[in-house]
Amino acid sequence: MSGFMLILRRDLHLAFRQGMDSLMVVAFFVIAVVLFPLGVGPEPNILARIGPGVIWVAALLASMLSLERLFQTDYEDGSLELLALQPVALEVTVMAKVTAHWLTTGLPLIVAAPLLAVLMNMPADGFWALMAALVIGTPSLSLIGAIGAALILGSRRGGILLSLLVLPLYIPVLIFGVSAVDAALGGFSAKPQLLILSGLLVAALPLCPWAGAAALRQSME
């Protein structure tokens, strides 16, 4: 089995052994979205207007909260150095860990999104655009977040620093993700926005593992 699949399997095993982590991310996602109707009031039109944005922002925050652990546990117990010494390129290692992160965080978010769209009173037109945008966008979030997760290893106040680093870089994905849903809700085609999201993903796929591996290397010096 290739190095990528070995590391991916390892991370998935570790994640499933502590199944609660994945569920906690989804729980945070749901609770964060639920706060908004309670905060702004239950009027359906307002909820429908802010629904896409609220769901996307909550997805961003949920994804970001789980990123801190991406490399942290391996860094602390020394397995990151062992991984770096493997014949597998560090970029491939990063890619494998990011894939595991998306499967255990992004995918549950996508599954939970229709329920939250119902809670936010989203009209039926928006559902498919929301799902498509999340499917294309959440891998980008995992990829970009991996750079941040690698940069904060060994720092003080890593968690809060991670949010300051990663959220500005998330903004393009957020803007086009919400725009896709808004376009679909307005009766227009969401294809341009989805294409741009795909472009962001395609750009992130080679560049983020490269930057993440560079950050990991300098963290282990």
Binding site: I147, L151, I152, G154, S155, R156, R157, G158, L161, L164, L165, L167, P168, L169, I171, P172, I175, A211, A214, A215, Q218, S219, E221
Partner: protein, 269 residues
């Protein structure tokens, strides 16, 4: 055998020459007064021309004069980030010590220029557009630039080992550089309230020379100001490193309970 260094290309000598902190300090001490003087002269010329001698806009009246502070600040915000990214690239690739110091010194200056650009833009927007802020592409991407500066400075100071912080933040600065072309072309790619490019665009500047001249003078003034403050900050960084080394040697000397451990000030130079 010829007694000359083994060099590949002409610039390399200059490149590595100033990695020596003492030599750089001498150069900085020589250049700094000129940068200061140039700043004062250019600022005086630019402000006089801009605030007094240039014409008022036919639509905006006298409020157009905020442009002479707002536009150069925005130019410097982007210029400083480009300088930051360049210095970080040099620091990462060649491990040039001066590049790391220059990057660390540039970040607060760039952040201050970005903040100035946002505030002066807001002050200009209220009379012009009727609003202090609007979420169009140009303003949003400059705000993101401000956050990138803050993130860089936060990451730089987040480690107990300063070298670690410098390397981590260098990577962050390079990752964030994608924002710079977005800022520049945001007014072309999106339908924005912020006006399109008037100076650096195909077909030359679209501003009358009577306004373009003070604008460019202010831009130059801000650039020399940046050089001036940069030199002050780099000198401060170098001297701070020396003081830290002295303090650590003193602490180590006291820890070993050796009375003769005090170092003469000239020894560390």
């Amino acid at each position: 055998m010829e007694n000359r260094p083994f060099r590949q290309y002409p610039g390399e000598v200059m490149f590595h020459r100033f990695a020596n902190p003492a030599r750089f300090l001498r150069l900085a001490a020589a250049v700094q007064p000129w940068a200061a003087g140039a700043t004062v002269v250019l600022l005086a010329a630019g402000l006089t021309l801009g605030l007094l001698a240039s014409p008022a806009d036919y639509q905006q009246g006298e409020t157009v004069r905020i442009m002479y502070v707002h536009v150069p600040s925005a130019w410097m915000a982007i210029f400083c980030y480009s300088a930051l990214a360049g210095a970080c690239a040099v620091a990462l690739i060649w491990k040039h010590p001066l590049a790391g110091l220059a990057a660390r010194a540039t970040a607060p200056i760039g952040a201050a220029f970005t903040f100035l650009a946002l505030v002066t833009g807001s002050l200009w927007g209220k009379p012009m557009w009727g609003t202090w802020w609007v979420w169009d592409a140009r303003l949003t991407s400059v705000l993101v630039l401000f956050f990138l500066y803050l993130g860089y400075m936060a990451l730089d100071n987040a480690f107990d080992d300063p070298g670690r912080g410098a390397k981590a933040s260098s990577i962050l600065a390079l990752v964030g550089f994608v924002n710079v072309p977005i800022i520049k072309f945001s007014v072309d790619w999106w339908n924005t309230l912020h006006q399109p490019a008037s100076v650096v665009k195909m077909g030359g500047p679209a501003i009358h020379p009577s306004m373009l001249t003070p604008l460019l003078l202010m831009g130059l003034a801000f650039t020399t100001y940046y050089v001036w403050v940069l030199l002050i900050r780099i000198r401060r960084e170098i001297i701070a490193t020396k003081i830290r080394a002295l303090q650590m040697r003193q602490a180590a000397g006291q820890g070993a309970a050796a009375p003769a451990a005090t170092t003469a000030p000239g020894e560390a130079g």
